[in-house]
C-alpha cells in the first residue's frame, strides 16, 4: 500500500513538473526570443528580485535576533565566562556590521546595474589603492581580535594547581553516563586505570594507592560557589566531550590520557533559577510541556514532569547510540551546603571495606 502510494506521489509530482514546464512554454509568445539567454526583461525582473531578496534577508536576520533572543544562553555562571561573553559580543557586532554592509552592497549592485542592451559596462580591472585598503582593514581588525582572543584563551587554559585552593574533581565518562570523583580530604586523586576495573571498583582505582582511599565517587556534580575547580577528565571507552554551556566550558574526554579544564563558578543554581531570564525561560518551557502533556494524556501516555532549572553537563562528542542522553546534573551551592553534602558521601575506602565485610 505504502509503496503504491509512494509511486502515486512520485507520479503526480512528475506530472506537476511536466505541466509546469508546459505552462512555461505556452507563456512564451511564439516568435519571441527563446534563446534561453537572459534578455533585458529577465535582467530587469531578476535584478529587482535581488533587491527584494536582500530586504527579505534583512528581515529574516532581524526576526532571528529578536525572536530567538531567548535562545541565547543566560549570563555566564563562571568567572572567565564574563570575558568569553564580552569577546563573543564584540565579534558578533563586528561580523553583523560587515554582514549587513556587504550583503547590502552585493544585492544592491546586482539590482542597480542590471543589464540593459544600450548600457555599457565600465572597464575597471584594477585599483591598487582600493585593494590595499580592503586588505589592510581586515588585517587590523583581525589583529585586534586575535590578540584579544589569545589573551583570553591563555587566561582560561592556564591551569595552575598551586594557585589559591582549587578543588580537584575527576570527570569520568563512559557509554553513556558520567561520574564525578572528588579528591577527598587530601585533595589528591588516587591513581587509576581501566585495567583495575573490577566489581564495585567501576572507575578502575588503584587499590594500592593511598591517595585513592578517601576519594568520593558520585553521580551528581556539586560545586561550591566562588571556588576554583580543576576538572581532570578520563574516559573509559570512546571519545566524549564534557560540555557545560552555562559555564562556557568544554573539553574532550579522551581514552588513554587525562585532559583538564578549570573554572570558578560564580552563580549558585538557586541564583540562576531565580534570575529574570531563567524564570521567563522556564515558564515558556513549562507552557510548551503542559500542552504536550495534554496530547500525551489523551493518547493514554504519562504527562511530562514540570521542569525546574538545573545546570547540566552533557556529552558533546558523538559516542554511540545513546549519545543524545548522556548527562549529569550540576549543582552549584554555598560552601556550607557543599561541605554538608560531600560529608554524606562515602569514600572509596569505605566502599571497599563494606564490600569486604559482606
Amino acid at each position: 500500500m505504502t509503496v503504491f502510494l509512494t509511486i502515486v506521489v512520485i507520479a503526480l509530482f512528475g506530472i506537476t513538473l511536466w505541466q509546469m514546464s508546459k505552462i512555461l512554454n505556452l507563456s512564451k509568445v511564439s516568435g519571441e526570443d527563446n534563446s534561453q539567454v537572459a534578455n533585458d526583461k529577465d535582467n530587469n525582473l531578476q535584478g529587482k528580485l535581488m533587491l527584494v531578496f536582500v530586504v527579505l534577508f534583512y528581515i529574516l536576520m532581524a526576526y532571528c535576533f529578536i525572536q530567538y533572543n531567548s535562545y541565547f544562553l543566560p549570563e555566564s555562571a563562571s568567572e572567565h565566562g564574563v570575558d568569553y561573553d564580552r569577546l563573543m559580543l564584540i565579534s558578533m557586532v563586528l561580523i553583523m556590521i560587515v554582514q549587513i554592509l556587504t550583503q547590502g552592497l552585493l544585492h544592491f549592485f546586482a539590482y542597480k546595474y542590471r543589464g540593459k542592451k544600450e548600457n555599457k559596462a565600465l572597464f575597471f580591472a584594477d585599483n591598487d589603492k582600493l585593494e590595499f585598503i580592503w586588505t589592510i582593514i581586515p588585517v587590523i581588525v583581525l589583529a585586534g581580535l586575535i590578540i584579544y582572543g589569545l589573551f583570553t584563551w591563555t587566561d582560561i587554559m592556564n591551569i595552575d594547581e598551586n594557585e589559591g585552593d582549587p578543588l580537584i574533581v575527576e570527570l569520568y565518562a563512559y557509554q553513556f553516563d558520567w561520574r564525578a570523583r572528588y579528591a577527598g580530604a587530601d585533595n589528591e586523586l588516587g591513581k587509576a586505570n581501566v585495567r583495575f576495573i573490577e566489581g564495585i571498583n567501576t572507575l578502575g582505582l588503584d587499590v594500592s594507592d593511598g591517595y585513592g582511599k578517601d576519594d568520593k565517587i558520585t553521580n551528581e556534580l556539586h560545586l561550591p560557589v566562588n571556588r576554583k575547580v580543576i576538572f581532570k577528565m578520563r574516559s573509559q571507552d570512546v571519545l566524549h566531550s564534557a560540555y557545560m554551556p552555562f559555564f562556557r566550558a568544554q573539553m574532550n574526554v579522551v581514552p588513554g590520557m587525562i585532559t583538564e579544564f578549570a573554572y570558578t563558578p560564580t552563580l549558585t543554581s538557586e541564583e540562576m533559577r531565580n534570575s529574570e531570564f531563567m524564570i521567563e525561560k522556564v515558564a515558556t518551557i513549562n507552557k510548551i510541556r503542559k500542552e504536550k502533556s495534554k496530547k500525551l494524556v489523551k493518547a493514554g501516555d504519562e504527562a511530562l514532569e514540570e521542569y525546574t532549572f538545573d545546570y547540566y553537563l552533557l556529552c558533546n562528542k558523538i559516542c554511540g547510540v545513546s549519545h543524545y542522553n548522556m548527562q549529569m546534573k550540576i549543582i552549584v551551592e554555598s560552601e556550607e551546603d557543599y561541605e554538608a553534602w560531600i560529608k554524606e558521601q562515602t569514600t572509596f575506602g569505605e566502599q571497599l571495606s563494606a564490600q569486604a565485610s559482606n
Binding site: 514546464s21 539567454v37 543589464g115 585532559t259 558523538i318 549519545h323
Partner: protein, 608 residues
Amino acid sequence: MSAIANVHDHAEDHAHDHGHHHKETFITKYIFSEDHKMISKQYLITGLIMGIIGIAMSLLFRMQIAWPDHKFTAYEVLLGKFGEDGVMDPGIYLALVTIHGTIMVFFVLTAGLSGTFSNLLIPLQIGARDMASGFLNMVSYWLFFLSSIIMILSLFAEAGPASAGWTIYPPLSALPQAIGGSGTGMTLWLVSMAIFIASSLLGSLNYVVTVINLRTKGMSMTRMPLTIWAFFVTAIIGVVSFPVLLSAALLLIMDRSFGTSFYLSDIYIQGEVLHNQGGSPVLFEHLFWFLGHPEVYIVLLPALGITSEIIATNSRKPIFGYRAMVASILAIAFLSTIVWGHHMFVSGMNPFLGSVFTFTTLLIAIPSAVKSFNYITTLWKGNLQFNPGMLFSVGLVSTFITGGLTGIILGDSTLDINVHDTYFVVAHFHLVMGISALYGLFAGVYHWFPKMYGKMMNKNLGYAHFWITAIGAYGVFFPMHFVGMAGLPRRYYTNSNFPYFDDLADTNVLITVFAFIAAFAQLIFLYNFIISIFYGKKAEQNPWNSNTLEWTTPVKATHGNWPGELPIVHRWPYDYSKTNEDGEYVIAGQDYVPQTVPLQEGEEEMHH
C-alpha cells in the same frame, strides 16, 4: 622551452591522428571513454546521483529532529529493520548523519564539482587536445565509480553502515562493540575511501601536469582564466593532503583488524579490557584534519573559480583585481594546510598549539575578504546579464560571506569553547562550504551546459530553481545559528531528554520545512537537466558572448576539441567592454574580445 614546444608538436600530431577517425564503439565512447569531456559528464552524473542520495538522507534525519515522537511510514519503507513501526533507530540516525556528510563532502562536492569541471574546462580553457593522460583520467573516474558503489553497498551492511560521524574518530569507529556501524559498515567505508583517494590523486596529478605542460601558444600563466588557477591550485592541495588521509585510514584499518594500537589506549568496553596501550585518538584527529581542513578548500576553490569566470562574463566587465584573486587563491591554499588544529581546540591538545592555530586561522580570513570585495566590485558599474549561472554566482558570494563571517567566531579558540560541536558549527560550514560549493556546481552546470550537451537549459526553470533554493538555504541555516547558540549539540537523535531545549522544537520544525522546500527545488533542476539534454534548444557556439577558449570549439564536440590547429592566445580572458581612447569598443559593436583575437592597432595589453 623546447620541451614545451615538443609537447605542443606531439599534441598536434595526436590531433592529426584523430583527424581520420577510427570508429568508436558505444563502449569506448560512453563507458570507457578517455575523452575529458565524456569523463566530465560521467563525473557530473555520478555526482548528481550521489547528491540525490545524500540530500534524501538529510531529509530523513531532519524529520527525526523535527518530530522525534512521530511515527513515519517513510522510515519503515526506506530504512527497513532500522525503521520498524515507523520509529527511527538511534543507530541508523547516526549512520544517516555520517553517510550524508561523507557523500556530500567527498562524492558530490569533491568528485562531482572539481572532477566535473576540472575535466571539462582544463583542456578546453588552456587550449589542449585532452588531458595529459587520457588513460589515467579514465582510471580515475572508474575508481571513483567503484568507490561510490562500495559506499552505497555499505548501506546494506547487516549491523548498519558506518555511524561514527563523517570524521570517523576512533575509538568509536575502531570498535564494533562501541557501535554497530563500526563493523562491516566501517570496513566498507574505509575501503571505499581508500579507493576514492586513489582516484582523487590520479585526477589531481593529471590536472597539474596538464596545466603546466599543455597550455597552448600564448597562454602564459597570467593569461589563464581564474577557473584554471582554481582547479590547478585545488589539485595541488589535493596531492599534498589526500595521502595523509590515506595513512590515517590505513592506521585505522590496522587498529581495527590487526590489533595495533595507533589510536587506542586504556579501553574498557562491554565488560572487557582491551589489550591496546599507548595509542592516541588525538593523533587520528591531527591526521584526519590535515586533510579535512584543506578539503574544505578543495571543495570551495573550484566553486570560487567558476564564480569568478561567470561573474566576469555576465557583468560584461573584467574580474576586478585579477592579480589579487590569484594571490588570494595561493594564500588560501598555503594557509589551508596549516590551520587544521582549529577543529581541535578542545581535543586535549596543548593549549599553546591552539593559540598558533587561532592565529593562522584568522589570517585566512584576509584573502577570503579580498575575494569577496573583488566580487562585489566586479558587479559595480557592470551591465549584468542575469542568466541562471549568474544568479547562482551572486548567491555563492552571499552565502560565502554569511558563512565565512561566523568562521571568525569558530576560528577563535576562546569562542570555540562554547560553540564547538553545536549547531552553530553545522550552520557555519553548511553555508560556507556546503551551500556555496553547491551554488558553484549549479552555476557551472547552467553556464557550461551548452558546452557539455550542445543544448541550452531552460532559463525560467533555472530562475525558479535559484530563488526557491536561495530562500530554502537561508531558511534552514540562518536560524540554525541560534539553535547552536542555545548550546544544542549536533548529532543528537532527539533533544527531548533535555527539557531546557523544549523551546527550540518549533525552530527545528521550521528548519525541516525549509529543508523540504529547498530539496523540492532540486527536483526542478533535475527535471530541467534531463529534459534539456534531450529536448533543450540547440546552443549557439558562444551563447554568453564569452572570451575564453572553450567557446571557440564547435558546438558538436569532437575528440581533440579543435578540428584544425590549436588556437593561439593573444590576451587575458577578461577583456569585456574594453574601449579604445575614443570610447568605442575595441571590436566595433561587440563588448567582448575573445582571447584568440590579436591586439588591435593602438590597443594596449592589460598589465595585470
